[in-house]
C-alpha cells in the first residue's frame, strides 16, 4: 500500500476512535457505553494492522471486543435481576 493512503486511513481511524471513547464516557444508557468501548477495541485492532502487527491484532479483536463485552453484559444482567 502506498504510504499516503496509510496516513489518511490512520487519521480517519484516530478521529473515530476518539469520538467513540467520548461516547463511552458520557452517554446515559449503560448498554450503549459498553458497546462503544467494544467498538474502540475493534478499531484499535485495525490500527494494529497498519502498524505491521498481525498477532496483536488477532488477540485484541478476539479478547477486547468479544470476551470483554460479554463479561460486561453478564455483570449488568446479574445486577439488574437482583434489583427486580
Amino acid at each position: 500500500m502506498d504510504p499516503n493512503l496509510n496516513i489518511i486511513i490512520a487519521i480517519v481511524l484516530g478521529i473515530i476512535i476518539l469520538v467513540f471513547a467520548a461516547l463511552a464516557i458520557y452517554h446515559k444508557k449503560l448498554s450503549i457505553a459498553i458497546i462503544a468501548a467494544g467498538a474502540v477495541s475493534l478499531l484499535a485492532s485495525i490500527m494494529y494492522l497498519l502498524l505491521a502487527a498481525p498477532d496483536v491484532a488477532m488477540t485484541e479483536a478476539a479478547i477486547g471486543s468479544g470476551l470483554s463485552v460479554i463479561i460486561f453484559f453478564y455483570a449488568l444482567s446479574k445486577i439488574r435481576k437482583h434489583h427486580g
Binding site: D55, T59, A62, I63, G66, L67, I70, I71, Y74
Partner: protein
C-alpha cells in the same frame, strides 16, 4: 466546578509531560541490537518461522509462565468470591434458533480455534489467540443450554492438566537440554513444515487449551455460579 478545573489542569500537565518525552522521538531506521539478534538467529536456534512466537516461548519463556500463573490466580479468586447461596436459579428456555444454530456452529468454531494454535509457529497466531476463539465456542454452548452445556468437570480437568504439563515440559528442558522451556528437546525439523521447531507446537497446544478453558470458566462463573456443595 473547581474540582473539574483542577482535574483539567492536572491532565493538561500530564499530557505535556508525555508530549515532551515523545517529541524528540526520532523515527528509527535500524533495529536495536537485541532485536537484530533475535531477527538474525531466531530462525536457526528455534526453527520457528514466526518471530513473535520464538520470542514469547523461547527467549521470554519466564514471562509466559508468569502470565499463566496470573490467569490461574484470577480464575480461583473468581470462583471463591461467587459461591452462591442455597436458592436454586431457574433459567428461561432459550429460543429455538439459538439452540439449532449453536449445534451447527460449535464444531466449526472449535476447529478454527484449534487450527490457529496448532499452526502458531508458521503463520500469525498462537496459544492466546486460539484459546480466545476456543473460549467463545464454549460460551456459546452455555448460552444455548444453560443447564446442559459442556460439563464443568471436563473444563476443570483440562485446565489443570494443561497447566501441569506446561510446567513439566519446562522443567524437562532444564534437565535434558539448555534451559527452562528450551526448544531443542525435540529435533528442529525442516523449516516450514507442521512438525518442526522442536517442542514449540506442543507447548503452544497446552497453553492454548489452558487459556481457552480458563477464560470460559471465568466468564461463565460470572453468570452461572457454581452451587455451594459441601466438599
Amino acid at each position: 466546578m473547581v474540582k473539574k478545573l483542577l482535574l483539567l489542569v492536572l491532565l493538561a500537565g500530564a499530557g505535556l509531560m508525555f508530549w515532551l518525552g515523545v517529541s524528540d522521538y526520532q523515527v528509527k531506521e535500524e533495529l536495536n541490537p537485541i532485536a537484530s539478534y533475535y531477527a538474525d538467529q531466531g530462525l536457526e536456534e528455534t526453527g520457528a518461522a514466526n518471530l513473535v512466537t520464538a520470542v514469547v516461548v523461547r527467549y521470554r519463556g519466564l514471562d509466559t509462565l508468569g502470565e499463566v500463573t496470573i490467569l490461574f490466580l484470577t480464575a480461583s479468586i473468581l470462583g471463591f468470591f461467587l459461591i452462591k447461596g442455597n436458592k436454586k436459579e431457574t433459567f428461561r428456555d432459550s429460543s429455538e434458533i439459538l439452540k439449532t444454530a449453536s449445534r451447527l456452529l460449535e464444531p466449526i468454531i472449535i476447529l478454527a480455534g484449534v487450527y490457529v494454535f496448532v499452526n502458531g509457529h508458521l503463520t500469525p497466531g498462537g496459544g492466546f489467540q486460539g484459546g480466545a476463539i476456543l473460549a467463545s465456542a464454549l460460551i456459546l454452548s452455555y448460552l444455548a443450554n444453560p443447564t446442559d452445556g459442556i460439563s464443568k468437570t471436563l473444563l476443570k480437568v483440562t485446565e489443570s492438566f494443561s497447566g501441569l504439563s506446561f510446567v513439566i515440559i519446562g522443567v524437562l528442558g532444564i534437565v535434558l537440554a539448555g534451559g527452562f522451556l528450551d526448544s531443542t528437546l525435540l529435533p528442529a525439523g525442516s523449516i516450514g513444515n507442521l512438525i518442526s521447531a522442536g517442542v514449540i507446537p506442543i507447548i503452544y497446544i497446552f497453553v492454548g487449551l489452558k487459556v481457552g478453558s480458563e477464560l470460559a470458566g471465568i466468564v461463565t462463573n460470572l453468570k452461572y455460579a457454581p452451587k455451594n456443595e459441601s466438599e
